[in-house]
Symmetry: C3
Subunit: 362 residues, 3 copies
């Protein structure tokens, strides 16, 4: 019988944790395997505001903490199959992130238990692209992620993601049928279309569709996204429409990003939120310097507007492990009271925040 | 330090997902290992009824979506140990299936978080059979599963499973001590006995026992199951008794199955439900054609009776991946209003349903 | 394409499940790997008391049932990184153990879904020790565990753990920053310090810090622990202070342990609980004989005091698998009504309990 031998010894999986947001379709799978992967990222976080400051530990301020299983199978004949089950983890307290079974505003499911809220899909892939069924990221969100130097994580998160009015399907949706264009269709062109069902009793609540089309080469890229989720019109809810464009240009010394975002909620008194971001990531030493400026304005009474400056440095100890520090400042205008890291600030006042963290992916 | 290397590359695990329902005892374990396994199965499902139709994505219409860990250890001296932790996944939205801590009608536990609801056991195995402790499938259910060409999954599910009156322990029970006969006792003979505890304050609520005994050779098999779960008698609940028989015959061109099922709930006004199934699975090309006819009748006022015809084809892209299509029709008699895939139909009206899905196991 | 091959075949992981309570800092990591590990432990448990007896299946009566993922990475330059995600499992019914997001008495999170309640951490390790962020065991608890022959599991559990008044942070805390001394600082010296945040709206509720310092060589060891968790003072809650000392001496024929434990809750009428344990573990044949005597007394009206004698034998079928039997007897004095395995006993009456179980680790 075996002695004290480590069980399930595996090779390191560098960078795999971010692979799910590449957004481009699948090529042909060339071998069959299953991968266990994840990220554990915890930071000490401070937030300051005019009413109350806050100090706490947070999870995923550089990369969302998670654990998952994924795999692909080569079916031959230019066909492949794959699955992806990825659970969000609140690594500061061990609980799981909630999912949403029916794309409704009030239906978080999981109550702190682990769910595959981040992604739960099965795929069939071929020369014609990828068919993907299950819960996944919505097409329009990818532009928010890919134009944000902070990848929508932590105190530096882009405002068009952090304070969007676009509701529960702004980032992910359940009960989805998605299609991705093949990588080889036209050099550099990528695209996807999605339909998702709310499966609610009340008509088409939570049903929706999204699409994204883009082009990228080694130096620059451009993509446009659109999404529409249906809800019966009330005083606080209605059809939610999102459109946006994102672009990046890699100058070598720095990678610049820019995005424009437009969200509309067709409730009885229609609301529109608009924002943009400009960002830069510069490789410096063993790490990256990150800088972004983003805004988000809602056409409510008084035109609440927030503007955010974020500055961060990620020091890579390896391809899997990093120390990071981020500083962000929010400038509120009108009745806007956006605050950072759990602080409270008065309408029109500012807020500051700092993350100091350690990220390890596997 | 290692570069971009895929983490935890593993071999494919064909068909493993169905191994837990074989229902026969353990042989001697010959090596020590741990296996990660699972199924991700999502289908577009349509249901039609006289009141309302429904279209949605569903999970596990061919094989229940799941993720699990299991392993065996060779202890020498004709002894082995094993464990099995298997969590049901709603792959269309990423949530977990609920478990039941005390075998009571109103105690789903998990709230959408992952639980090892499908199986959570530790085993000791020897020439004398297998001792298995934890949560597991009840003995009497195996005949429902093994006589159903659709394995109690999806729109084609056998009616004696889908609309049974046998309650919360009809398929699984917690707090169980189970014993399986050894495979080598008598050639072809298999059997098991189980005791489970409700662990409720009110007397013996949720306590029960089950047993199954059968014979199978390469051509045909026959098994009988029995179960009794205790509940204090009320107007809607009482001791729940199940007995059934199942048989199969493999003709080469097709495998025929038949089963008879008898459920009794000894509430104040005792209820009895009875049903049967005849089914066939025929290998055709790279797949299987499946056909079944099942019924279930309850002796309530008006003798509500449902009859179901189900027809399906599974196209195997590999041993792990399949596309499938199933059509089913329910014919209701009396006050029966059984409907398919979330549709609503009036008493005595019919219902139709279709599943179109993709299954991948790992 | 591969045929029926077992997926993810791994080597056995003997004893790994208990590694997280070693309590000493990290040495330098020498290779990069990820480990899947766990325990499935189920016992038939009987408890007897003057009011009501109880028979049920329980999980983890020898070693807490769990499943987890952990790994380390060699960063070079005498640095290492690591993560640890460990979920408690109620193996008798498949549900998960709850976590606690904010170190408050009433905030169990998970509702039966799996959470990484046992440990959820990311670490950076070097010659200077280990920095550990996330949810983890509190420093002062390790003396309770390491002086108990039954490792605070099952019917034999030491009373200063089983009926402590020290509340929700007596064993673990969330939102923690921990520091461990390096192993090489002084030969045999180990130590750790922790700060954790409640992150509650009401002031510093749930904030706290703990520390432990000790010495051990091959024959004997000694350690002292201290913890303080802050709560706003009410009639039933207040700052909770814990201090304790633990020691062991290995005589070869037996390993003796002793511990003294002192808990104070500074509610309006301050409460103090004190207890001690003396224990012995003797290797006999293929197993261990375990014996312990522990007490816990609270200075409430009538000085409720419980005294417990526990006797157990663990028969190791391998390094990973064991059969075990434990008998325990509680003698209550004054208004104390501590009872075993879910039994109920009257104040001042005794209680008996038995566990008969099977443990398998992987």
């Amino acid at each position: 019988m075996s002695k004290r031998i480590a069980g399930l010894v595996l090779l390191a999986c560098a960078g795999a944790a971010n692979a799910q947001i590449a957004g481009t379709g699948a090529g042909i799978v060339t071998s069959s395997n299953v991968t266990l992967f994840g990220v554990v990222d915890v930071a000490a976080a401070w937030g300051g505001g005019s009413i109350a400051d806050r100090t706490r530990l947070v999870s995923g301020a550089n990369s969302s903490s998670r654990v998952g299983f994924r795999g692909v199978e080569d079916l031959g004949a230019h066909l492949g199959a794959g699955f992806w089950l990825e659970a969000g983890v609140n690594a500061d307290d061990g609980t799981g992130a909630t999912s949403n079974t029916n794309n409704q505003p009030v239906s978080g499911s999981g109550s702190g238990g682990l769910t595959f809220n981040r992604r739960s899909t099965v795929s069939l892939m071929g020369d014609w692209g990828e068919l993907r069924l299950g819960r996944d990221i919505v097409a329009s969100w990818r532009n928010k992620d890919q134009t944000d130097p902070f990848s929508t994580n932590g105190v530096g998160t882009t405002l068009p993601h952090a304070i969007t009015i676009a509701g529960v399907t702004a980032q992910r949706a359940s009960n989805m049928i998605g299609y991705f264009l093949p990588q080889a269709l036209l050099p550099g062109v990528f695209g996807e279309a999605q339909y998702y069902a709310g499966e609610n009793q009340s008509g088409s609540d939570g049903n929706g569709w999204q699409a994204r089309l883009g082009y990228a080469n080694k130096t620059w890229g451009l993509a446009a996204g659109y999404g529409l989720t249906k809800y019966a019109q009330t005083a606080t809810l209605g059809d939610t429409q999102v459109w946006n464009v994102g672009a990046h240009w890699d100058f070598g010394v720095a990678r610049l990003t820019a995005g424009y975002f437009h969200d509309t909620v067709k409730q009885v008194a229609e609301r529109t939120g608009t924002g943009y971001i400009v960002g830069a990531v510069a490789p410096i030493g063993a790490g990256q310097l990150k800088l972004s400026y983003s805004t988000y304005k809602v056409d409510d009474l008084g035109d609440p507007t927030a503007r955010k400056l974020a500055l961060g440095y990620v020091y890579n100890l390896s391809q899997r492990t990093a120390l990071y520090a981020t500083y962000a400042h929010i400038d509120n205008r009108g009745p806007s009271d956006a605050a950072l890291n759990g602080a409270l600030t008065a309408p029109g006042s500012s807020s500051n925040g700092v993350d100091l963290g350690l990220k390890h992916s596997f």
